[in-house]
Subunit: 137 residues, 2 copies
C-alpha cells in the first residue's frame, strides 16, 4: 500500500493508508460519508477529520487510485480504479453489480461517427438502475 502512495509522490500518512485500506477491503463503492464512518468505527483511526477524508479522496482521484462514480444520490461515490466497467444499482437496497461490455463501447463508437458536432468521446458514464432479484420479490 505504501508503494501505491510513494509512486505518486504522496506521503504515507496514517490517514491515507487507512482510507486506502478501506477501499481495498470494500466490495462496494463508497461515499466520503461511508469512509468517514468506517474510520470512526475503528479504534486506531477514529480521529481522522472529515475534511481529511475529502482531501484524500480527491487526491486519490487525481492520482488515479480511485475513480469517481455518479449514482445520482446526492453525494459522490468512489471505488478503486480498475478496468473500465459499469454498474447496475438496486433502487431499493443499493446493491451494486458491476459489468463490462465491449458491445457498449462499440455502439458508442458508432454514435460518434454519426455525430455532427463531435469527433470523439473522451469519457462516458453509464449507470443502470433497477430492482435486484431480492427486492423484486
Amino acid at each position: 500500500m505504501k508503494e501505491i502512495l510513494k509512486e505518486r509522490g504522496y506521503k504515507a500518512t496514517p490517514a491515507r493508508l487507512a482510507i486506502l485500506e478501506i477501499f481495498i477491503k470494500s466490495k462496494a463503492p463508497l461515499a466520503a460519508e461511508n469512509v468517514y464512518k468506517e474510520l470512526k468505527r475503528s479504534k486506531k483511526n477514529k480521529d481522522i477529520n472529515e475534511a481529511t477524508v475529502y482531501r484524500t479522496l480527491s487526491l486519490f482521484e487525481e492520482g488515479k487510485v480511485l475513480t469517481k462514480i455518479d449514482f445520482r444520490k446526492g453525494s459522490v461515490f468512489f471505488e478503486l480504479n480498475k478496468k473500465h466497467h459499469h454498474h447496475i444499482t438496486c433502487f431499493k437496497c443499493d446493491t451494486v453489480e458491476e459489468f463490462e461490455s465491449t458491445a457498449i463501447e462499440k455502439v458508442l463508437g458508432g454514435i460518434v461517427r454519426n455525430s455532427s458536432k463531435f469527433i470523439n468521446i473522451k469519457e462516458h458514464s453509464l449507470e443502470l438502475f433497477g430492482l435486484c432479484k431480492n427486492c423484486v420479490a
Copy 2:
C-alpha cells in the same frame, strides 16, 4: 401551456407558465440557476423567487413535464420530457448534442440477461463527454 398544467391538476400560476415557457423556448438543458436568471432578465417575471423555481422544477419532474439530467456539474439540469435520448456534452463549451440509439437499448437488454442479480433495468443514464469540433481546433 395551461393545458399541460391543468392536465396534471396544477394551478396555472404566472411562475409556472413562465418557467414552462423558458423550457419550451430553450434548446439546451437548464439548471435551476439558469431558469432563475432567465426570469430575472424578463420584466414581467423578475420577482419570482428562487425557491419557487426549485419547487416548480421538482413539481414538473414528478408530473413528467421535465426530466432530470445529471451532467456531473454540481447542479442538476432539466429538459422537456421527450422521447428517450442521450447527450454528448463538450467539456469546454458545454455544447450539448442529443442522440437516440436503439443499438444501446438492445445492448442493455443483453447485459441484464447476463446479470446474476438483476432481472430488468428500469432506468439508465448514459452521458457522453468529449470536445466538440469547435473546441478541438
